[in-house]
C-alpha cells in the first residue's frame, strides 16, 4: 500500500483520519509531544480545552450529539489521570470514545519516572477496553481495533496508552483488512422464538408500557420505535438517557420514570401488565426496589448486552439484539391495535397527577426550564449538569428528538454539562446549544469558559444559582434530620464578573417576569453567553 516509513505519531493521526475523525479535544504535555507535532499540520480540528477532564467530557458531548466516536488526547501522568472521570462518565452511559494518552518511553515504564502513571491499569475498570502500545508495528492495527471496539455492540470508551518512544519509532504502513472482532460477536437479530413470544405478549396485554432507554438512542432506533408505538398504541416512558427517543410532545409519552420521574409514568408502570424494556438496565434510580417495580407485569427485555438481561430484575421474555434490528423485525410481525381504554386511563393519570411546582411569585427553576422548553420547542440541543436542575430539566424540558438532551446519567458527574456543551456545539454548528447547570456543578469545570471564548462557541450557559448543593441538601432534609452538612456554598463568586473576566457577555435574572425576555436575549446573543 504505502511503503514510506512513518512515525508512530504519524500512523496514529493517519488512523484517526481513516476513521473519519475531524475533531479532537485535548491538552498537550511532555509525553505526547511527538503526536502534537503531527497534529500541528494535520487536517484535523483540535480543540484545546483548559483541563483534560474538560477534553474528555467535550469528546463525550461530541459523541452523544452525533453518534460518532469522540476523541480526546492527553499527556502522561496527571494528564491521563485527569481523563478518568470523563472515561467513567462515558463508560456508565455507553458512549463511544477513544482516548489517547502519552506515556513515558516504554523502557521507563514502572520506574516511577516523571509524569508516569499506570493509566493502563487505572483505566481498566472505566473503559470497555484499553491498550498499551509497546511496539510501533502493532499500532496501525490497535488504532483500527480501538475504534471498532468503541463503536460496536454495547458502545463504550477505549483508551490507547502511547509511550513517547513508540510515537517517534518508525515503521511502514501495512495493508490491513477488517479487524477480527475481538471476543464474541454480539447477537443483533433477536431470537425468532423470543420475538414470537413478544408479539403474543403484546397482543394479550391490556395495560402495556414501553420503558425506553439509551440503548435505543445508541442504535438509532427512533423511527422503529415510533412505528412500533404507532402500530401498538403503547404508552412510552423513557429513562434519563432515553429522553428524546420518543417525542415528549406525543400524547402517548409519559415523560421520565423513576425516583425523580413523573407520577403518571410511575403509576402506569405500577399498573402495567406488560413492561417492554428496551435498551435499559433497570438502574436503581429507575427501579429502586426491584420487588416492587412493575409488580403485576410480565417483563420483556431487549438489549444488545446479554449481561444486562436478568441483572437486576427477572425477565419473562429476554431478547438479545440490536434494538433497531429487533424493532424493525417486530414491526413486520405485529398487528395494529387500538387499546382505547388503557390510553384513556393514561390520559386521566396525566390529568390527575400533573407535574407541578409552587406558583408563588418567586423565581423557580422549574418555571425557567418550562419557559425555555415552550420557547424553543425542541429546536435546541440541551446539556445539563448533575443535581436538582438536571432532574427538573428532565421533567420540564420536552425533548422531541434523540441526541438533543445530553446529560451524565449513570455516573452523575458534576461538571459534565458545560464541557459536553462545548463538544456538542463543535459537532452541531447548526443548532443553538444551551447548558443548564447549577452553581455547584458549574464550578467543577468553570475553566472551560476560556475554551468557549477562544473558539467563540455559541454555548448559552444558564446557571441555576441557589447557593446550595440542592440535591444533596434535599436528601439531608429528608434522610438526615435537616442536618445540612456542607451543602451550603457559603461563598460563590459573582458569576457575571467571572464571565466578564473571560470576555463572555453575562446578565442576571432575578424576577419571574423577566425570564422569557432574558432567555430570548441569551439565545439571540452571538457566541457564548452566561445567564
Amino acid at each position: 500500500m504505502n511503503s514510506k516509513l512513518m512515525t508512530g505519531a504519524q500512523i496514529l493521526v493517519q488512523g484517526l483520519m481513516d476513521e473519519g475523525i475531524t475533531h479532537v479535544f485535548g491538552y498537550p504535555g511532555g509525553a505526547i509531544m511527538p503526536t502534537y507535532d503531527v497534529i500541528y499540520d494535520a487536517p484535523l480540528t483540535h480543540i484545546l480545552t483548559r483541563h483534560e477532564q474538560g477534553a474528555a467530557h467535550a469528546a463525550d458531548g461530541y459523541a452523544r450529539a452525533t453518534g460518532r466516536v469522540g476523541v480526546c488526547i492527553a499527556t502522561s501522568g496527571p494528564g491521563a489521570t485527569n481523563l478518568v472521570t470523563g472515561l467513567s462518565t462515558a463508560h456508565m452511559d455507553s458512549v463511544p470514545l477513544v482516548a489517547i494518552t502519552g506515556q513515558v518511553p516504554a523502557s521507563m515504564i514502572g520506574n516511577d519516572s516523571f509524569q508516569g502513571a499506570d493509566i493502563y491499569g487505572i483505566s481498566i475498570p472505566v473503559t470497555k477496553y484499553n491498550y498499551l502500545v509497546k511496539d510501533v508495528r502493532n499500532l496501525q492495527h490497535t488504532v483500527k481495533e480501538a475504534f471498532y471496539v468503541a463503536r460496536t455492540g454495547r458502545k463504550g470508551p477505549v483508551l490507547i496508552d502511547f509511550p513517547k518512544d513508540v510515537q517517534s519509532a518508525k515503521t511502514r504502513l501495512r495493508k490491513i483488512g477488517p479487524v477480527r472482532p475481538p471476543g464474541r460477536p454480539s447477537l443483533t437479530e433477536g431470537h425468532p422464538r423470543q420475538l414470537k413470544a413478544m408479539v403474543a405478549a403484546v397482543k394479550q396485554a391490556r395495560r402495556p408500557v414501553i420503558y425506553a432507554g439509551g440503548g435505543l438512542v445508541a442504535s438509532e432506533a427512533g423511527p422503529e420505535l415510533a412505528e412500533f408505538v404507532a402500530l401498538t398504541k403503547i404508552p412510552v416512558t423513557t429513562t434519563l438517557l432515553g429522553k428524546g427517543i420518543f417525542s415528549e410532545m406525543d400524547s402517548l409519552s409519559l415523560g421520565m420514570l423513576g425516583m425523580h420521574g413523573t407520577k403518571y409514568a410511575n403509576h402506569a408502570i405500577y399498573e402495567s401488565d406488560l413492561l417492554i424494556a428496551l435498551g435499559v438496565r433497570f438502574d436503581d434510580r429507575v427501579a429502586g426496589n426491584v420487588k416492587k417495580f412493575a409488580p403485576l407485569a410480565k417483563v420483556v427485555h431487549v438489549d444488545i448486552d446479554p449481561a444486562e438481561i436478568g441483572k437486576r430484575v427477572a425477565v419473562d421474555i429476554p431478547v438479545v439484539g440490536n434494538l433497531k434490528t429487533v424493532l424493525g423485525t417486530l414491526n413486520r410481525m405485529i398487528e395494529a391495535t387500538g387499546r382505547k381504554r388503557w390510553i384513556e386511563h393514561i390520559a386521566r393519570l396525566k390529568k390527575d397527577l400533573p407535574l407541578a411546582f409552587p406558583d408563588d411569585g418567586k423565581l423557580r427553576p422549574q418555571h425557567i426550564i418550562r419557559t425555555l422548553s415552550d420557547m424553543t420547542r425542541g429546536e435546541i440541543l440541551l446539556t445539563t449538569d448533575v443535581g436538582q436542575h438536571q432532574m427538573w430539566a428532565a421533567l420540564y424540558y420536552q425533548t422531541v428528538e434523540p441526541r438533543r438532551f445530553i446529560t451524565s446519567g449513570g455516573a452523575g458527574t458534576m461538571g459534565f454539562g458545560f464541557p459536553a456543551a462545548i463538544g456538542a456545539s463543535v459537532a452541531r454548528t447548526d443548532l443553538p446549544v444551551v447548558t443548564l447547570t447549577g452553581d455547584g456543578s458549574f464550578q467543577m469545570c468553570i475553566q472551560e469558559l476560556a475554551t468557549a471564548r477562544m473558539y467563540n462557541l455559541p454555548v448559552k450557559i444558564f446557571i441555576m444559582n441557589n447557593g446550595y448543593l440542592g440535591m444533596v441538601r434535599q436528601w439531608q432534609e429528608i434522610f438526615h434530620d435537616r442536618r445540612y452538612s456542607h451543602t451550603c456554598l457559603s461563598f460563590n463568586p459573582d458569576f457575571c464578573k467571572v464571565a466578564e473576566g473571560y470576555e463572555i457577555p453575562a446578565f442576571r435574572v432575578t424576577e419571574p417576569s423577566e425570564v422569557q425576555r432574558k432567555i430570548d436575549r441569551a439565545l439571540n446573543t452571538d457566541g457564548p453567553v452566561l445567564v
Partner: protein, 166 residues
C-alpha cells in the same frame, strides 16, 4: 431472584495469553463484589491461550452474572461452568510437616494411604506432595496437623470435563 442458596462453582476460562488479561479478570471480580476462592492460571497446549480455573461461590443469579460479565471481556474466549457437566478436579499440596523420630513411620503411612510422596527430607521436617480433590487434601491435612505443619502451598483447584463413555 437472589434468594436462592449459594453454591460453589468451578469455572474454566480460556483466555488470551497476554499481559493485563489476568488483571482484567481479577478486577472484574473485585469491582463487582464477586468471590474468588481459588485461582489457577497456566498456558494451554496453544501458547497463545491460557486456561484459568477459578472457584467461586454465589447463588444462581450471581453465578449467571459472573459468567455473562466474563463473557463480555474481550480477552475471554470461552467460559465453562463445570456444574453443568461431569468433570475431574485436582488440587496439589506441598506440605512441610514436623517429623519427630516417633512420628516418621506414621507420616510415611499416611502419605502412602493418600498416595502421596515424600519430596524432601530434612533433619526435622518432611515435605510431602499430595494430589486429589479438595476433600482429600483437607483430610490429610487433618491427620497431619497433630504432628505440626510448618508450611503448606496449594495450587488451588484445576479441572477438566470428563469424556463421554460409550
Amino acid at each position: 431472584m437472589n434468594q436462592e442458596k449459594e453454591e460453589k462453582h468451578i469455572l474454566s476460562l480460556m483466555v488470551d495469553n497476554r499481559p493485563g488479561v489476568l488483571s482484567r479478570i481479577v478486577g472484574l471480580f473485585s469491582g463487582r463484589g464477586f468471590n474468588i476462592e481459588s485461582l489457577c492460571v497456566a498456558e494451554t497446549a496453544d501458547a497463545d491461550i491460557s486456561r484459568i480455573t477459578l472457584v467461586t461461590c454465589g447463588d444462581m443469579g450471581v453465578i449467571e452474572q459472573i459468567k455473562k460479565q466474563l463473557n463480555k471481556l474481550i480477552n475471554v474466549i470461552k467460559v465453562v461452568d463445570f456444574m453443568d457437566m461431569s468433570f475431574v478436579q485436582r488440587d496439589l499440596a506441598l506440605i512441610k510437616v514436623r517429623a519427630k523420630p516417633e512420628h516418621r513411620a506414621e507420616i510415611l503411612r499416611i502419605t502412602d494411604i493418600f498416595r502421596g510422596r515424600v519430596v524432601d527430607v530434612g533433619s526435622e521436617f518432611y515435605t510431602l506432595e499430595v494430589t486429589g480433590d479438595l476433600e482429600k487434601i483437607d483430610a490429610i491435612l487433618g491427620l497431619l496437623k497433630p504432628m505440626g505443619i510448618k508450611e503448606i502451598a496449594r495450587t488451588g483447584t484445576i479441572a477438566l470435563p470428563r469424556e463421554k463413555r460409550k
